[in-house]
Symmetry: C2
Subunit: 225 residues, 2 copies
């Protein structure tokens, strides 16, 4: 009797490097399919689950093999198992997701078959991967609202403007700088390192880091989308 086959896939989000005043965009890596089904289309990094490999390990391995990315932690997103999601064969995909820093993106593989795409400029996708990405984006936005995951996009230290840019990109809305600063400062989730961003004009902005012991900042404006 035929069984469903198990696959793993990963959705990796990163911010494009912030070119000055320009608002960065949310990007994810996709891999071009070199065989049917979906030959030539783009798909999430992934592969079949070996019988002797744990789910997250298989997701991390296939991600690294295809993109060179090795995020510190992959989180299970959801398992997609619609009967008709893959032509000719029943495939159930356990999907993991992670956020990476821009500098990790620079180290990642990029060739004609592995590319980063802006969330707003996705190419034709194989299977139900467009729906999977949509689900991941909604989870990302919810998570940003309920927890301080923004720092996963940022380095150890960051400016208030850099942090606000993360929220603006993920929530897809402009945020008032003064309100944002007030919300963040009163949340107690930020620590002023006392240092200032180097290589910036005559008034270098303060550098902050997240306080791991603090409760995540609640974003009153996040829900108002």
């Amino acid at each position: 009797m035929p069984h469903a086959r198990l696959a793993v896939s990963t959705v990796i989000f990163a911010l494009s490097p912030d070119e000055g005043a320009e608002r960065p965009s949310l990007r994810l890596p996709l891999v071009r399919r070199l065989r049917e089904p979906g030959l030539g289309r783009w798909a999430l990094p992934g592969g079949w689950l070996p019988v002797d490999e744990a789910l997250e390990a298989a997701a991390a391995r296939t991600l690294e093999e295809t993109t060179g990315l090795a995020p510190a932690h992959l989180e299970q997103l959801y398992t997609f198992g619609a009967v008709d999601r893959s032509p000719g064969e029943r495939v159930v995909s356990v999907v993991y997701w992670a956020l990476v820093h821009s500098d990790e993106v620079e180290q990642a593989v990029a060739d004609e078959n592995v590319q980063w795409f802006d969330e707003d400029e996705l190419p034709p996708l194989a299977f139900d991967h467009l729906a999977i990405i949509g689900y991941a984006l909604s989870r990302l936005r919810t998570r940003l609202e309920y927890s301080g995951l923004a720092h996963a996009f940022l380095g150890e230290t960051f400016t208030m403007a850099e942090l606000r840019a993360v929220y603006e990109v993920v929530l897809r809305k402009r945020l008032d700088p003064a309100n944002f600063r007030r919300t963040m400062e009163t949340s107690g989730a930020l620590v002023d390192t006392g240092e200032r961003k180097s290589g910036t004009p005559h008034r270098p902005p303060a550098l902050y880091r997240f306080d791991p012991r603090a409760a995540p900042p609640r974003m009153p404006f996040a829900g108002s989308r």
Copy 2:
């Protein structure tokens, strides 16, 4: 080449009928294993995933076949796929969960091989089902904190004391009645039906219902566990 096999399981939570002053308990149905592996142990309702059945449909069907329960909605909880979680065979289980009302419990099957157990008095469980239940309980507590899911345990209308009992049981702590009432009333999530609970002594308590349009009540005390 051998593949992992896919199974589905469900975690169903209900409150025991509230016997007067006694605090209700959180219960879930388990099914006794009648074959190896785990013969004689108790397990979550579930079964193998047919190649032509959707995940949630298979979870709902196996739940109904074993327990007679047919919750309006099953939500995917998590997919468990540790290599060694089932002896002799690689099994990946997609687990769904739901909350049901006490009256649904009364209609459910109950025989020597299908029984409801208090979360604090679980029998020896097969596979990693104890860990799965623990994960479901933590999800339940988080969800209660972030959304108004308490009403899933209650009927259309309920008293403030009945609602508080849900929070006390799930959060495993006593809640101050006055503070709880204030939090709920200011949340705007409750509507006073103007009716009063019948069959109660000379001062029958008011009956409330949830306002589906309202934002879920935020429980300031929930996080303080």
